[in-house]
Point group: C2
Chain length 555, copies 2
């Protein structure tokens, strides 16, 4: 006997199959129409040179027609002749004499096109109408059109107050008659983020009227995945995050640099590092620019940042992990206190969060329409939430779920603890963004600077000048002060059970012995996570351009 | 019998040895002085709390003292008390009562410090004077000082009209008594770029009064290498090149994206690609973002650029090659002609070259003082030099060295040909920057678009809409129009002897079949080469932050 869930999903699969069949029939019909139209010769069809497949548009358009991008279309174009290049979508036939479609460009800017038979110049034949409405969706076309005011605003399009009356239409690059994934499907929430090659249902029975696809289907149809308004919006927000990061730091004297990806030793713990043959030796892919940021400080660069790929050979198939991701890193000299570093990092993240709220309101709305989420709460200026690790654990013990009633101040937090803490912080302080400071030395790498006051927590464990930042309960940044004194550094390396003579460590220590290195600190931000958690996306893979997981290297 | 060159180099080595011995003695003396000073107790020395080693400056300075960065020092500070944190260099003793040194920060900003014994408040003891002048060069110090106008301008320092009368001086991070490479040596031209581990003479006998070191010594003393004014200047110029690249493109609607480094197939010719184990499969490091740039165009992103690492597993140990370098890449839709792409690329490079001339005049002068080179000649606006490949070869045949009298229009240029052509172009057109366009298909990869007019050169070889850009006779950019039609693309793939079903190629072709992809083109610029050749550096390794060669992965 089948269980009811299986039945439901079977029904849904059947429904999807029927839908696909219908779409295939529709596509076939369109192809037939197009074939018929193509048969027409110039003698038969006085409009024959006004439409068709063309490799380029050289010499096709009127001299007085102005080339316009869809976002630039405005009232000033009314009654003028324009040339528009765009993707074609949503064609429909009104009658043998008239058809409609939409032209889309620049992410999600669309405008309505009308093709109407006319026996007066410019002549538009019925065959032309048929041919145009038969163009495969997602083909790239160039049209010449008169701009008109529609009878009523076109609600389906972003350009609502104008429409294009088509007089010429050429297909520059044709899409196939059957798309691997339609734009409508591409813009549905993804139903399955597993990278398993096993077949998965592409159907989300409960929520969607349009079927929804798995991440696997999306990535196998990368062009359609990227063309979806939601992915265009996410990419635009990601760009803005990088810009805000860069401009905030440049305004404060930070200089960009590029750390290497290929390194000679698995210097920061060998577990999760990719190894490769390198001219008879072995090379490794950098897990972070940590050592190189510090070398820049030793080299007198004072305040640096980097934006680039980092690699983790971790066999984690979760919505939070990727094997390659983009790190936003900073490192800076400290004058008086490590809080200077914490303040810059807190400042840049608040600048980013407030900046995208301002600059990307439309894009955020586009994303939320597909992936609804609670608004991302920010602290009011001056009311930033900074808890010490011990305070955070106390909060969790006292106000968190009972399973965390005994968490210790001298042991690192688990992911479930972090999530529970985030809930408490949100309800208590009304923010999704907060800092946990003064981590115990047990939870930090050897380069973390121990607190000057020799404060301890729990079982006599010293605390460090190191912190994590959180967004929607998940870590997005790790940072703190680093040890700059070589004697202290060597002692900590030994205390952590690392051999100071081991490959990578030896050279790292040598830099601090070779010159006087000022006090410094910094932090590393996961760009993909900042974007994903700010937007409340179900997976960090949605924020990446080409997500890399243990099971996926393509496209 | 020894040859004279060997004798000369032996003599030079002896001279260097003597110099090193002298420096060691000097350092020892300084260490002794410092030790003696440290012995002093507060009872002996009324200034004992005004100097010494300190881990931090908390509570050390006067409340009314203003913390100032050296570049910000100006007339307004005269007679005021300031705090300055900086590297200490060039100490010298005037008498038991007086010493001088320089403080350096922010690349190459220096100011003179004077420490003078005083029995009046603020008391400066003779012991303090001794201790301060004994501080190891390249230590990081914090001083409190009164700003004074010097008797005459301090020619040795960038801040010439002010000097600091030191009343407190603390070493926050001490350099060793003997540096692996002094700042003076670090700022000499590098004498040997070989990465061979074999010992090389660090001495350049003819040119330098200060001994010069090999690249090996520089990279083994990475902090001192980076602290040298010349490397600070090169790094600053490199930053400006990236900024100019980015701003020019963003102003023209280009959007940044990040292509992956880890890819699933050696898609662009398998020869020079790094391979690595990847969870039981094989992964490759991207040799260029070519395919991914095109996927962005297929995905409707219209105009994109990327700045990031690319990898070549080429065993070339030359001044032009690295195994990891930074690519500046663009890709854009084409409306009418591939010249739109050529113009954007030419525009961005001219913007970069003119921009750094304007913005980095000081830094360029700093570099030229160490690595003299002819000025980089740019074409006057409107007189850009664009030759077709056939025109360039004709020029080389007719006006180049006789060995190139028979170069063919249908075969790729060799590096010596490129160099010779550059000489001809420079003397004929007075420019170091020029474009060679319309390369024959034999010299281009399968994705290069064949010229529409079906023009041929030489033995009936068709020409492509593809070009290279040159700077000082060396290639810095490759670009052109790509094939966007899947049928044409498959035919070219086959014609180049590549299997359209092979890994990577199959998925690439599938993207062009999956949707309509508009005409597009782009180009890739080697950032390291742009910086190095513009500045006329002897090796591209000088322009990189951490050069990667077949023999070097560290630091």
């Amino acid at each position: 006997m089948e269980d009811p869930a299986a039945t439901t999903s079977k029904k849904a699969a059947k429904k999807a199959e029927a839908k696909a069949k219908k779409e295939a029939q529709k596509a076939e019909r369109a192809a037939q129409l197009a074939a018929a139209a193509a048969k027409a010769t110039l003698e038969d069809d006085p409009a024959a040179d006004r439409y068709g497949d063309r490799p380029s548009t050289t010499g096709l358009f009127s001299d007085d027609a102005e080339e316009v991008e869809i976002p630039s279309l405005d009232e000033s174009h009314i009654d003028k002749t324009v040339i528009v290049r765009a993707w074609l979508q949503n064609s429909r036939v009104q009658s043998a004499k008239m058809g409609f479609f939409e032209l889309r460009k620049s992410g999600n800017w669309s405008v309505q096109g009308i093709v109407m038979a006319s026996e007066q110049e410019p002549i538009v034949s019925r065959r032309m109408v048929k041919w145009v409405v038969g163009i495969n969706p997602e083909s790239f076309v160039a049209v010449e059109a008169k701009v008109k005011r529609p009878l009523e605003p076109i609600k389906a399009c972003r350009v609502q107050g104008l429409e294009l009356h088509i007089t010429k239409c050429y297909v520059l690059a044709s899409a196939p008659s059957m798309l691997g994934m339609t734009l409508a499907v591409a813009n549905q929430p993804i139903v399955n983020f597993s990278d398993e090659k096993a077949p998965v249902s592409d159907v989300q029975p409960d929520k969607a009227t349009v079927p929804a696809a798995s991440m696997l289907t999306h990535l196998d149809n990368i062009a359609m995945h990227k063309r979806s308004p939601v992915q265009q919006a996410i990419a635009d927000i990601r760009i803005e995050v990088k810009k805000l990061f860069r401009s905030y730091l440049e305004d404060r004297g930070f200089k960009e640099f590029e750390p290497p990806c290929l390194i000679g030793a698995a210097s920061e713990g060998g577990g999760n590092v990719f190894r490769l043959p390198y001219f008879g030796e072995e090379a490794f892919l950098a897990q972070s620019p940590q050592f190189y940021k510090q070398f820049e400080i030793a080299g007198g660069r004072e305040r640096v940042f980097s934006i680039g790929p980092v690699f983790r050979a971790e066999n984690s198939n979760t919505a939070r992990h990727m094997t390659e991701f983009t790190g936003l890193d900073i490192e800076m000299e400290i004058k008086q206190s490590y809080t200077e570093v914490r303040d810059v990092l807190e400042g840049v993240l608040l600048h980013i969060f407030r900046g995208i709220q301002d600059r990307c309101a439309d894009a955020i709305a586009t994303v939320k329409a597909v992936y609804p989420s609670e608004p991302f709460l920010l602290p009011e200026p001056g009311k930033e939430v900074r808890l010490t690790f011990a305070e955070a654990q106390k909060l969790l013990r006292e106000e968190g779920p009972s399973e965390f009633a005994n968490v210790r101040d001298d042991e690192d937090m688990s992911t479930p603890q972090e999530k529970a803490l985030g809930e408490v912080v949100r309800s208590k302080f009304n923010t999704d963004f907060y800092v946990i400071d003064k981590f115990p030395e047990t939870a930090r790498p050897f380069y973390a600077k121990i607190d000057d006051t020799a404060a301890t927590v729990g079982d006599g464990v010293r605390v460090t000048n190191a912190f994590d930042f959180f967004a929607r309960n998940q870590e997005i940044l790790s940072g703190g002060q680093r040890i700059n004194d070589p004697v202290e550094l060597e002692a900590r390396i030994r205390a952590k059970g690392v051999d100071p003579e081991s490959a990578g460590i030896k050279e790292y220590l040598a830099v601090f012995r070779s010159v006087g290195v000022p006090a410094h600190g910094g932090g590393g931000i996961g760009l993909d996570r900042v974007v994903a958690w700010y937007l409340g996306l179900p997976s960090v893979h949605l924020a990446a351009y080409y997500p890399r997981t243990p099971k996926r290297l393509s496209p």
